[in-house]
């Protein structure tokens, strides 16, 4: 495993950063938020990312992708994290898209994956229910056999990118109960299916998330991904991949938050000097910088380990999410504190990182969940 960027990767990182920064990302986010934009992101930006090829990174050429991996994906999400870009790249491409790619039939891919890669359609994946915390065996939906298919009922929460999505991959329990590793299936359900409704939810980070209500929606047998296979296995795998992508986004966010704070420390003057000249603040900034460097290393490593499907890949994913959750929240808290009064105002951008840090922490498992998972995987 090489923890250095190749020429191509370095180029991709630069392009991604230019694309994001050129879009005046934070101003755009505010406009979407304060204008109560129903979608909360821009379809054309997603399409543009598709044109640049980023939506195809982690898919095989056969599926119309570039046959690269998370090592490249995290460079895109890192740039998105720097600008808090709200486009549903992770849920539509890395989460639902990969689920279809790994478990879907030719029809599934043609109907949903190709359009998603083309940036024409948006996919979302529903895997958690209210109070279900991070346990993937607590499927949000129950699937009961009906003639030629299944009937789905239940309520999923905080479905990322789930408002106005074109289709949903839904984790449902066909048999057994919470805690059982068997009996979980993934179904592809198009928006507009009778008995399926999505309601926009509003989170502190103002990203597009939805509550997905299934009230006896009926799907055919052909709607199931990896039919008869290990549904939970497939779900866990794409969640792990999306988790790595998210840690990339978090890395970008904490990098940006720290840089903005350093800038403020250099410019803000009190007592006749820049406050960045106060040693106590210097040392705290240096501590945050250490956290940043450690975070960058583990994100790169986790991405490469999953790409190589190495034995400790899952453990590295947990290290990465645990580390980034703690480090991003720390950096964001300190960033607000070091900005002083203006740091607590809605008008100032630094607060947006605080909110996103916390929402990211609570997505795909927080630090203590991943520490417990790491220990389980390590057999102690």
């Amino acid at each position: 495993m090489q923890l250095a960027l190749t020429e191509d990767q370095a180029l991709l990182a630069r392009t991604a950063n230019e694309f994001i920064t050129a879009g005046e990302p934070l101003a755009r986010l505010r406009k979407l938020r304060d204008g109560r934009d129903e979608r909360g992101y821009a379809l054309d930006r997603l399409a543009r990312m598709a044109e640049l090829g980023w939506t195809g990174i982690s898919f095989s050429e056969a599926d119309g992708g570039l046959g690269m991996g998370l090592a490249e994906v995290v460079l895109v999400t890192e740039a998105m994290g720097r600008g808090l870009a709200p486009e549903p790249y992770i849920p539509s491409i890395v989460l639902a898209g990969r689920a279809v790619a790994l478990g879907g039939s030719a029809q599934h891919k043609e109907a949903w994956l190709q359009p998603a890669i083309a940036g024409q359609k948006v996919l979302a994946l529903a895997h958690s229910r209210r109070r279900g915390r991070f346990d993937l065996t607590r499927a949000p939906v129950r699937a009961t056999r009906v003639d030629g298919g299944f009937q789905l009922s239940g309520e999923a929460t905080q479905v990322w990118g789930g408002h106005l999505a074109d289709a949903y991959v839904i984790a449902a329990r066909t048999t057994g109960d919470d805690g059982d590793r068997g009996g979980i299936a993934l179904f592809v359900v198009p928006a507009g299916t009778p008995g399926l409704t999505a309601v926009r939810q509003h989170r502190i980070d103002s990203l597009n998330v939805a509550q997905l209500v299934l009230d006896g929606a009926v799907v055919g047998d052909d709607a199931e991904l990896a039919a008869g296979g290990d549904g939970l296995g497939l779900l866990s795998r794409v969640i792990d991949e999306a988790t790595v992508a998210l840690t990339g986004e978090m890395l970008g966010g904490m990098t940006e938050a720290l840089e903005r704070t350093l800038g403020y420390l250099r410019e803000r003057r009190q007592f006749g000097v820049p406050i960045g000249s106060f040693q106590a603040l210097k040392h705290r900034a240096a501590r945050l910088y250490i956290e940043l460097e450690l975070s960058r290393s583990v994100v790169m490593a986790a991405a490469r380990a999953v790409d190589a499907q190495s034995a400790d890949a899952a453990q590295l994913v947990s290290i990465a999410k645990a580390k980034l959750s703690d480090a991003y929240c720390l950096v964001a808290n300190e960033a607000v504190q070091l900005h002083g009064g203006i740091g607590m105002t809605d008008e100032h951008d630094i607060g947006l990182f605080l909110k996103r840090a916390r929402a990211s922490e609570m997505t795909f498992g927080d630090a203590s969940y991943h520490r417990a998972r790491y220990a389980e995987l390590g057999g102690y």
Binding site: R203, Q270, G341
Partner: protein, 402 residues
């Protein structure tokens, strides 16, 4: 029976029999009433309750009678508080008049100034705001620039204040302004009072990351004040300002400290309840399901208790007649940090349910607590940043060199 006992008897008589007769339904203990010309009523009878209490000098029990207080000694005053708590009645009147400018006037004001302003505070007629910080004078308060030009017995004020709590609801402002730009920056600062109901004063609320707007910006354009409202003389404002900041720190410490009005006294148990609710329990009423979070809850509960005990120790020392010890220097910084830690712990316990802003999928308590958490991030900034508090402790308590 002793005077004290008879005083308590009177008080009980009044609270239990007379008061309801005069007011009818009494406000609940949680109903904070701030008074003022445009009072907000947390409860229909809040204002009436305040007035009736004020008639008896019970809004400001320890203030002298001639200034609208109760003229009571510490011991009797404590009885008032105790009886109010016992009967589930609120403190009749809160606000910066009672907690900040009142005590400051008693310390620095002339008899004339006390006679004019204190009774209106005690009666809840005037609500006050604090004009201290400016955009370029935060931690470095002494470098403030808002100017007060004195001509005869008129003062003309220009400039801007920021972080003025509830200025949009206040009637008068106490604040510090620059009357002299030469010499040491602490000199040339004057502490004065002004009526905010005038064209030269414009107030704009500041929206915080929590969505609330407890603070305002206040702009002065040839605003007017009277020389008779200068406290402690021209150029001596810094002394007054620092003394007042002392009152403020203590108030904030009390507010956020364990047992303080800023939070439920039972936070420890509250955390256990939230943990049981969101994490689950081994068996009904048994251990919290997740031992690691259980340990975090315990760790926090212990820290909180240690802080509450420190506040009690300080109070007991005061009661025993010792002057406030150095331990009081930690109240503001530690109380506010505890409040932040409490909120972050609740986020951890509620997990994904703790990141909602509004609407679907989150229950009201979850949403309210999330806002409170966001608001709490400011606690270590407002009223003197934690960094400033640490500087103060290092210099004045630990005698470390500059």
């Amino acid at each position: 029976m002793t005077d004290v006992e008879s005083f308590r008897a009177e008080l009980v008589e009044f609270f239990e029999r007379e008061l309801p007769g005069q007011i009818g339904e009494l406000p609940p203990a949680t109903a904070d009433y701030w008074g003022g010309r445009r009072p907000e009523l947390p409860h229909p009878s809040s204002q009436r309750y305040c007035e009736v209490m004020a008639e008896r000098g019970l809004t400001a029990p320890t203030w002298p009678r001639e200034y609208g207080g109760g003229g009571l000694d510490k011991e009797c005053a404590k009885i008032v508080t105790a009886e109010l708590r016992r009967l589930g009645l609120p403190v009749p009147l809160v606000g910066f008049g009672m907690s900040m400018i009142g005590p400051t006037l008693l310390q620095f004001g002339t008899d004339e100034q006390k006679r004019e302003h204190l009774p209106k505070i005690a009666l809840g007629e005037i609500r006050w705001a604090q004009g201290y910080s400016e955009p370029n004078a935060g931690s470095d308060l002494a470098s403030l620039a808002a100017s007060a030009r004195i001509a005869g017995d008129e003062i003309t004020i220009n400039g801007q204040k920021i972080w003025t709590s509830y200025a949009d609801k206040a009637d008068w402002m106490f604040g510090i302004f620059r009357t002299d730009t030469g010499g040491k920056k602490q000199e040339g600062i004057t502490f004065l009072l002004l009526d905010m109901a005038q064209p030269g004063v414009e107030v704009r609320p500041i929206k915080l990351i929590s969505g609330a707007s407890p603070f305002c910006e206040t702009f002065f354009t040839d605003a007017r004040a009277r020389t008779r409202d200068i406290i402690h003389g021209v150029g001596n404002g810094w002394t007054v300002a620092k003394a007042l900041l002392g009152h403020e720190r203590t108030m904030i410490g009390d507010l956020f400290g364990a047992g303080g009005r800023g939070r439920p006294a039972t936070a420890g148990n509250l955390l256990v309840e939230v943990a049981r609710d969101y994490i689950g329990e081994r068996e009904p009423g048994g251990r919290i399901g997740d031992p690691v979070l259980r340990d975090r809850v315990t760790q926090f509960t212990m820290e909180e208790r240690c802080f509450a005990l420190t506040m009690q120790r300080s109070a007991d020392a005061a009661r025993a007649g010792h002057k406030p010890g150095p331990e009081s220097s930690i109240f503001k910084i530690y109380g506010t940090e505890l409040n932040q830690r409490r909120h972050e712990l609740i986020l951890a316990l509620r997990g994904p349910q703790s990141v909602g802003w509004e609407g679907e999928g989150f229950d009201p308590r979850e949403l309210a607590q999330t806002r409170d958490w966001l608001r709490s991030r400011g606690n270590t900034i407002e009223g003197g940043t934690s960094e400033i508090q640490l500087n103060i402790i290092a210099k004045h308590v630990l005698a470390l060199p500059d």
